[in-house]
Symmetry: C2
Subunit: 195 residues, 2 copies
């Protein structure tokens, strides 16, 4: 198994991407290992932030690296929380505040205004290759938080095909449908490891 | 004429909003005066940034204040440049770099990917009232910069109904149709000064 670094300090992302590798039949191709990038996410797009993290870990290790950057985009709020998804309410530690702020902004608004998408940009970097891919999943911001699975905005992201929030879904149900799944599937397709 | 502060350090915005007041028949109601807000724009939405600027100038002057925050939103780039419109390429001083970065990101992409909108959030603050309004205008990112009128992203914002970029339009043509016009018209409607 080849070692593959994942540039993240988020244990939820490590767990989900490990499960996505399993769903894609790639879990035995890599020994995935998280490594926290020692760098600030100063990019002005999701893709820039993914590269910033990947580059730092690649420079520190000299080994193949994947990274991703993810956000929740609400059209009626002109893209918010967007790049500020992790610190929408100011604090990056109490994520419940982020959810509550978003719920408050959409208080009393109808379905059209509640349309949202999770987007994920995944990147791969080694000695020879520099590849990226994007994934998204569309849904609605729920009226209130439901479920305690997943992480981040999952409890308020309603996925209409299943009538549940991502916070209510068993991990395998989320990980087969998520923005992160689509981004990494396309990434490994571009790398020639999936049809 | 009542004094009305505009919380901005941008002379282009002062000029445009003055002209919008004239188009709205409100130029004689106010003596508009720009005042640079002494505060960083740390908001995570356009509306927060508009309030941050208005509040600082209101606290410093004690007089009625208007402010706005504006950005260019490209759907296919998940909202970029968005909140980072003024410093998309890193430097807030050489705006041409921002335009070139956006053109490069859309290089070779078709019309669907080039859809964009300018959004403007306008706010009003005095002793008694706290009112906000949003305006937008839809268009396309042009293949290359055209025209040297307006400011910011105007030379690459193609306005389909007139087949010209905002950089090619006479000021009165832009200012009758712009995101800024719509935002301030709605703001003064909410204030009861327009039907």
């Amino acid at each position: 198994m080849k070692p593959l670094f994942l540039a993240t300090s988020n244990p939820h992302k490590l767990r989900e991407i490990q499960e996505i590798l399993e769903l894609l039949g790639l879990a035995h191709a890599f020994r995935l290992q998280a490594r926290a990038p020692e760098v600030e996410e100063t990019g002005v797009t999701f893709l820039e932030n993914a590269w910033i993290k990947a580059r730092q870990v690649y420079q520190a290790t000299g080994r193949p690296v994947i990274a991703e950057d993810t956000g929740l985009v609400v059209e009626s709020l002109d893209g918010a929380p967007g790049l500020f998804s992790a610190r929408f309410a100011g604090s990056p530690t109490d994520h419940r505040q982020n959810l509550n702020k978003l719920l408050a902004l959409l208080q009393g608004r109808g379905e059209e205004a509640r349309r949202a998408r999770f987007v994920c940009y995944a990147v791969y970097l080694d000695d020879e290759r520099r590849v990226w891919a994007r994934g998204e999943v569309q849904g609605l911001i729920a009226q209130e938080a439901r479920g305690n699975r997943g992480f981040g905005y999952d409890p308020i992201f309603l996925y209409p095909p299943l009538g549940r929030t991502f916070g209510e879904l068993a991990p395998v149900l989320k990980n087969r449908r998520s923005h992160r799944y689509h981004a990494f599937r396309r990434l490994f397709q571009k790398l020639g490891m999936l049809p």
